[in-house]
Structure formats: C-alpha cells, structure tokens
C-alpha cells in the first residue's frame, strides 16, 4: 500500500500550523475517531520544531460528524494526547531504572555464559529479547521529553473542525455508508469494512477495522497469544517508526511561552428527587495501555500540574439549569475527601510500589549470593561471591534511581492538592443527553421502569459507567414492587 500522508505541518516565521485528518467511524453500537496517519509519523514531523511563538492545531474530522460529535471527539482527542504525554512522563521516570536493571541482567547473562557456556542456548533467547527491548526503550527514552512536550501542546491547542477535503470525505463516507447499508455478523461487517478501507487506501482505518474483527473472532490459543505478544515486542512498531532529532533540537521546548489550559469535567446525573455529581474520568474505562507501563491510575492533569503552570477550568455538565453556587459548595466539601485524597494516596502508594518492585531482582541476587558464600564457607574457604557483589551493586543503583521515582510520584500527589485549590469558578454546560435522562427519571412514578429505561438509554449513548449507576438504582428500587409487609410464610390454598 502506498503511504499517503494525512497530516501537514507548516512553519512560517516561528509560527506553526499542524493539520491532521481524522475519521469518525462507526462500530457496532458506537462511534470512534481514528487518526488517518500514525501518531508517531505525525510527531516525527513536529519534533524538529522548537522555540515557536505560536502554534495552531486543527483536526479535520470526516465521516459526516454532527456538532455533538465534534465536541465529543475533541474532548476525547485532548484526553488521548494527554494520556500519551502521561506515558512519556512515566517512561522518563521509570524507564531509566528499568533499563539499568535490564542491562544488569544482560551483563549477568553474559558472565554466566562465559563461565558456563552450556547454558548459552537457554540464555540466548532472553539476551536477544533483552537487547532488542532495551534498545527500543533507549530510543523512546531519547525522545520522550520532546514527545511529552508536543503531546501536551497538541492537547492544549487542538480544535476539531469538519473536514473540507472532498477527496478524503468521499473515501471516508464510502466506509460510513457501507456500514449503514449492511447487516451481518460482527465478523462479516468488520471484514467487509476493512476490505473497503483497503480499497480506499486508508491504512489506519483498515487496521482499525481489522482489530475490531480480530476482537470479534474467537480468541487464539495460549501459545499463539504468547507468540503474538513476543512478535509485537520484537517488532516494536512505535520504536521502529520513531525518528530522533538532534539533541540540540529535542531539548528545546516546542513553544517559547506556553500556558496550559485544561478542563476537568463533572456530570450531574438526575434521579427522581435529586441530582448526583460524578467526576467524568471515573467513567473512562476500556482504554488499553501498553503492557510495559505501570497502570496509569493517575489523572494526566496531575502530572502536568506538578510540573508546569496549568489553568484549570471546571466544567459541570448538567441536565437542566441549576444553581452553580449550590453545586460549588457541595462539591468542594466532598471532592477532596472522595476523589482527590484517594488518588493522592494511590499516587504515593504507586511510587513506593514501583520502586519496591524494581528492587526485587537485586534482593533475590543478594540472597543467592549470600547462600553461595555460605556454601563456599562450608567447603572450607571464606570467599565473597561475585553474585553477591553484583546484587549489591544493582541494589544500590536501584535505590538511587528508586528515590527519584518516589519523588516523582509524590510531586504528582501534591499536584492533586493544587487541582483542588483551583476549584473556584466552575461553569455549567447543559447537556442534551443528560436532559434526556432527566426526562425519564424526573418525578417518575415507577422508579424501576424509569431507571431501567435510563440504564438502557445510557448504554445506547455508550456511557457504560453511567449505565452501571442506573442499573444499580433500578435493582435497588425494585422493593417498591413488594407487597406491603414482607411475606414470612407461604401457605397453599
């Protein structure tokens, strides 16, 4: 397939403009956006830039999007670029430690192979894997800081607009129309769409639908999964695509002056007599993270707040016109206790866990080394095992690096405090979908039916987390159907 570029980076007098094409594609019961270029290819074109005065980022969305779609995609896109920045952040802080330990293991294997060559066939696959993996990580590490900077700036400035190129529009629309016109099994539909995308020369749309197809196939066996996984690790596509600019370029921030602006969103869910407020990020489930990373239990914004100056606006999506002061009062009372303190705790815990986990291997080496020395002593001579020395050295290295990991996570924990302080002027936005839910449940006579209807409607919107809440409510309120008084004994006529 010919590699077509679906993004453009223009620079003029220290002002740059990034344009990327995206498609809003249907999957069964849902819609998702897909970048038409690989994100690394896009970043490859941005990383050589630096010290800009201004930057605009536009994402052209194709596939007949509505106004609502544009808004949702923009929100999702900002979140995705922030998540990418978060991954780079974690890579920078944990990656060095992992690389040092991997390298130590490699050195250990080499030493073992020298003394016991018969072990080489056993050690070699691991050594090859280690070299490839460490090399890929080193490559990623080299550019991680710049990628983080770029991803944050994109997230900060991206605007999603309807696509105007008639050529691309026709190609994407062909796929959307195809989806609308066919019915079949999930396999059927996704395969046909992948084939259509290939015909249209949209490689990443094809890959997207092929992945959906793979997901709807019965799974492979265990060994196939292992092979698949190792294959993905050996041919690390992201690392392979990455181009590393010169050090002088990659250490310069993308923009000279940058003020990050983010919004934290809350939703107000209607019930019959009251409203319940939730943080929307609590509902962001189903995301996939690379296996080599620690799970990002943390809010991407907390990482940013810990490092730079961020202006946070709090957006509260409401089903109807509500008094903002009332919400603000209630929220500031409960927000810290329920949400941020928990996350702050998680952040600190995670810092300890990560640095502890990385110390397991050196500790095991030290124990083996001590045993080796003791057995040596039994044989009649006192000697200090090289394994013990090796263990002590790696333990010291992991302690040193582990400290920086811990410091990083505690900075994040403090970030949550800052976010909380910023909670001053929330703005209310009325939401059509929430209004629909409101109509269903407001003053409802039969709560079970109302809440189960709201449950089904939320699933229809693709709000799985919110659906869960309404399902629980429906299940809870079924007691209304009980006859007055609990039946304690049944007697047949």
């Amino acid at each position: 397939m010919k590699h077509e570029k679906f993004h453009k980076v223009e620079k003029q007098n220290n002002e740059a403009h990034i344009m990327m094409d995206t498609a809003h594609l249907p999957v069964i019961g849902q819609k998702e956006y897909v970048l038409l270029s690989h994100y690394v290819d896009l970043l490859n074109d941005i990383t050589p830039l630096g010290g800009l005065d201004s930057l605009t980022v536009t994402a052209a969305l194709y596939g007949k999007p509505t106004e609502e779609d544009l808004r949702e995609v923009e929100q999702q896109m900002k979140k995705d670029w922030d998540t990418l920045a978060l991954h780079q952040d974690e890579l920078m802080h944990v990656g060095i430690l992992s690389s040092v330990l991997d390298f130590a293991w490699l050195a250990g294997c080499v030493a073992l192979a020298v003394f016991k060559p018969l072990l080489l066939p056993l050690l070699l696959p691991y050594m090859v894997f280690n070299v490839i993996h460490t090399y890929a990580r080193a490559k990623k590490l080299a550019v991680a800081w710049k990628l983080k900077d770029c991803a944050r700036e994109i997230s900060n400035r991206v605007k999603v607009v309807p696509g105007t190129d008639p050529g691309i529009a026709a190609r994407v629309n062909r796929i959307v129309e195809r989806f609308e016109s066919i019915d079949g099994s999930t396999q059927d539909i996704y395969l046909k769409l992948a084939a259509t995308a290939e015909e249209q020369g949209l490689e990443w749309v094809e890959r997207f639908y092929y992945a959906q197809f793979e997901d709807s196939k019965p799974r492979r066996g265990f060994f196939r999964n292992v092979v698949h996984f190792l294959g993905a690790m050996f041919t690390d596509e992201d690392a392979k695509r990455m181009r590393i600019p010169a050090r002088s370029v990659r250490k310069v921030p993308l923009l000279k002056r940058s003020r990050q602006q983010r919004s934290i969103e809350f939703v107000v869910l209607p019930t019959r007599n009251s409203f319940e407020i939730y943080l929307t990020d609590e509902f962001s489930d189903g995301e996939t993270y690379p296996l080599s990373f620690i799970p990002p239990a943390l809010h991407p914004i907390a990482h940013m707040v810990a490092e730079t100056d961020v202006e946070i606006s709090n957006v509260i999506r409401v089903p109807e016109n509500l008094d903002v002061e009332k919400i603000r009062l209630k929220l500031s009372q409960s927000l810290y206790i329920t949400t941020y303190s928990r996350r702050k705790f998680q952040a600190m815990k995670l810092g300890q866990l990560v640095s502890f986990e990385k110390r397991q291997i050196p500790i095991a080496l030290i124990v083996i080394g001590i045993l080796d020395s003791i057995f040596g002593l039994f044989k009649g001579s006192l000697f200090i095992s090289p394994i013990l020395l090796f263990g002590v050295v790696t333990f010291a290295a992991s302690l040193l690096l582990g400290r920086s990991v811990k410091r990083h996570f505690s900075a994040i924990a403090q970030g949550f405090d800052k976010i909380f302080e910023d909670f001053a002027h929330p703005s209310l936005v009325e939401d059509k979908k929430l209004a629909e839910l409101n109509e269903l449940v407001k003053g409802a006579g039969n709560l079970v039916d109302a809440y189960s209807e709201a449950f089904h409607r939320a699933i229809h919107f693709g709000w799985d987390g919110i659906a869960d809440i309404y399902q629980s409510k429906a299940v809870f309120h079924q007691r209304e159907f009980k006859e007055p008084g609990e039946c304690i004994m049944r007697l047949e006529r």
Partner: protein, 399 residues
C-alpha cells in the same frame, strides 16, 4: 445438506431487542403463524410467554427454555430467532415439524432481562433481582426448581405446573457464562486479550438410565453441530490434556450422575449437587435434559452458537444424520506479503458472491490446522483456505 435453522444471525437485528418489550413484540408478532400464550406473570407484571410450534398432538415434544437467568441475553434472542424460523420453516424443518412439536419459553425471567440482573430467591420464596448471582441465603432462581412449591415464587410455581403438564420428551435449557455486563457493544477488557480459549461451550447433560442411547447421542450431536457451524477450539491434544488441568477443556461435555470428573470454574457449583431446571425435569419426568452454556464472545456469535446447539439436539432427537459435505477446488489466488489472509479472502468472496454475501471465520480439526474463511450467499458456499506458500485456495462446498 440438512439445515434446520439459519445459524448466523445479524447483529444489527439482534441489537433491536435490548428491552423485554421489544422481545415481547417480536414474540407477539408470530401469533398469526404460531401458538403464543402467556403462561405466567413476573413480579413486576411482565408476561412470560410460551411459543408452540409443530405437530400439536405429537408425542415427540422438545422443550427449549432460556433466560432463566435474565441477564444472559443471547439465549432468549436465540429462541426468538428459532421461533421466527419455525413460523417460516424451510423444507427440512417443515418436514420435521409434521412429527415433532416444539415448545419455546424464550424468557423465563423478563424482569431480569430488562434490568440485566439475576432473579434471586430467599428461603421462603421472596424474590429480588440482583446484579450478581446468589449470595448468602438468597439462591439464584435456577437453583430452586427442586424446592417444594410453598417455598417458590408464584411465577416459578406457575411455570412448574405448566412444564409438568406438557409431557415433553427432551429438554434444553440455554445459559451463558458472563463475567461482564452485556451492553450494546462487545469489547473484551484489555487484560483478557491474552486469556486462552475464551470461546468455551459447556454441555451439562442429565440422562436417565432408560434413555441412555438417546441422551448420549443428543449430547454428542450438540457439540458436533456446533463444531460444524462455528470455530470452536479443537479437541485437546496430549499437550492439551496436560493443559486441561490448568485451563478448561473446550468444548466440554459433563454427564451428571455418572461419576465422571467435572472440571472448570463454572462447574464447581455442580459438585455441590446444585439442582437446576434440567435436573428437576429429569427427576420428575424421566426425560434426558441438557443445560447449554456459551461463553464470552460477541452477541451474534453467542446467539448463533445457541442455535447451532439446539439444531444439533433436534437432529439427533429426530434421528437425522447431517450429510457429508464435499468440496472441489475452484481456484487458487496468491496473497502478497504484508497482506492479510482474511481481508484478501473477503475481497475475493465479495467479487465471486456479491457484496451482500455472508462470511464466517472457521478452522477445522486437523494436525496442521490453518485459518479458513467460509463465505456464502443463497446459491453458493465457498471456503477459503490459507496455504503455506502465501496463496489462498478457494473451494466450493456442496452436499
């Protein structure tokens, strides 16, 4: 080829039956052609229907029940699909319906179906829909069929009475093993992507000694027909036998009351002698009865698996042997490096059979099993096989 039912449902069509009211409308729409009757009412006043089809006076009756656990959404959809096909039978099915009658209860727990929950019963028969299966003294409704009537909820009592009066000869209760809440969209949680063998089918059979031959052939046929129609991981090899100790073998048939070893996470409860609907039917009427469980796949796949399982049972019950399928090679096409077998096959299939053709991924048993894709339209059925030397051979299937 004997094909009683269409086993590959359409996903968008299935997604229109998410509420019980939709399912109900679907059943009531069949009233012109089939006998649809209300047999009980749920606690939240939703009607429970039975659909009767085939020879009314026949002594050969097959009972199909589903959604005993309301949150399991594929079985009722499978029975609705079967009911629709019984209303407009093909030639094979029409012939069969002259001697066999079908009684379908597509949804035993309509409240649970709407709330995506499980009906649980306390020791004296009060019920509540819960999000998960039984806990503490509340048992799930499928475990209370052997209780005395006094301790049953009214709808279960009515259903028991109705089922006993039917005098059926074979019973199949359809279930699913779900660890996630079924929603509109199927997506595996990321941590399960590396989970081995997740399309798993379990057939739990309870066969009285007097009906041993029939029961065993039906049990085997359920699994065989499923393997014919869908890709189910092949029978365990020597290595597999070892892995069987770690992972659940697929598909598995468990015969109760025979002392065979029962394994698998799902079946720990059966060791405790939990008596479910099919057990109660066998104990009280002496017929072979089966519980069929599908597992963790997209909705259309699960629904199709249930239909294939039911078809297998019906074929064995009626003593029909599916004819062997022959194949002849039509052509051979290369597929260059970096191209994917499935996409290339799909493109070729759409050229040969038209854009509206249907497709399914399949793998047959064999030492060196390779990927296959079967595509068909009303006139032809083609099989695309992956060859070692980056080529695809196209075979036409005919009986």
């Amino acid at each position: 080829m004997i094909e009683l039912f269409e086993k590959y449902p359409l996903i968008k069509d299935l997604n229109t039956f998410k509420r019980y009211s939709d399912l109900e409308a679907g059943m009531l729409a069949l009233r012109d052609r089939l006998h649809v009757e209300e047999v009980a009412r749920s606690k939240m006043n939703r009607p429970i229907y039975a659909v009767n089809a085939g020879a009314a006076e026949s002594a050969h009756k097959i009972l199909l029940t589903a959604a005993n656990h309301g949150r399991e959404d594929a079985p009722p959809l499978a029975l609705l699909s079967i009911a629709r096909q019984l209303a407009q039978p093909n030639r094979d099915l029409e012939r069969l319906m002259k001697s066999v009658s079908f009684i379908l209860l597509p949804c035993l727990d309509p409240d649970g179906y709407d709330l995506r929950g499980v009906k649980c019963v306390d020791p004296i028969g009060n019920t509540e829909i819960r999000e998960e299966y039984s806990e503490s003294s509340w048992e799930d409704v499928n475990a209370v069929w052997c209780r005395a009537d006094e301790f049953l909820p009214p709808e279960t009592r009515a259903l028991k009475k109705y089922l006993l009066e039917l005098h059926v000869s074979l019973a199949l209760d359809l279930h699913e093993t779900l660890f996630y809440r079924p929603s509109l969209r199927f997506q595996l949680p990321p941590q399960w992507r590396f989970y081995p063998n997740s399309f798993e089918v379990t057939v739990i059979e309870f066969i009285p000694e007097s009906q041993r031959d029939l029961g065993e052939s039906v049990g085997a046929s359920i699994v065989e027909n499923l393997k014919r129609s869908y890709y189910v991981p092949r029978k365990v090899s020597n290595l597999g036998r070892f892995l069987r100790k770690i992972f659940v073998p697929l598909p598995q048939t468990i015969t109760k009351g025979e002392g065979r070893e029962i394994s698998g996470p799902l079946l720990t409860e059966f060791r405790k002698g939990r008596m479910v609907l099919s057990d109660w039917l066998t104990l009280s009427t002496g017929i072979p009865s089966f519980t069929f469980e599908s597992f963790l796949s997209p909705l259309d796949y699960r629904v199709g698996a249930h239909i294939a399982g039911v078809e297998g049972a019906v074929l064995a019950f009626a003593g029909l042997m599916p004819q062997a399928v022959s194949a002849r090679q039509v052509k051979r096409i290369p597929f260059p490096k970096k191209k994917k077998f499935h996409i290339e096959s799909a493109k070729e299939a759409m050229q040969l059979l038209g854009e509206e053709c249907r497709m399914v991924v399949h793998r047959k048993d064999g030492r060196l099993t390779r990927e296959r894709l079967i595509a068909w339209n009303s006139a032809r059925r083609l099989e695309f096989r992956k060859r070692w030397l980056r080529s695809i051979s196209v075979w036409e299937l005919y009986s």
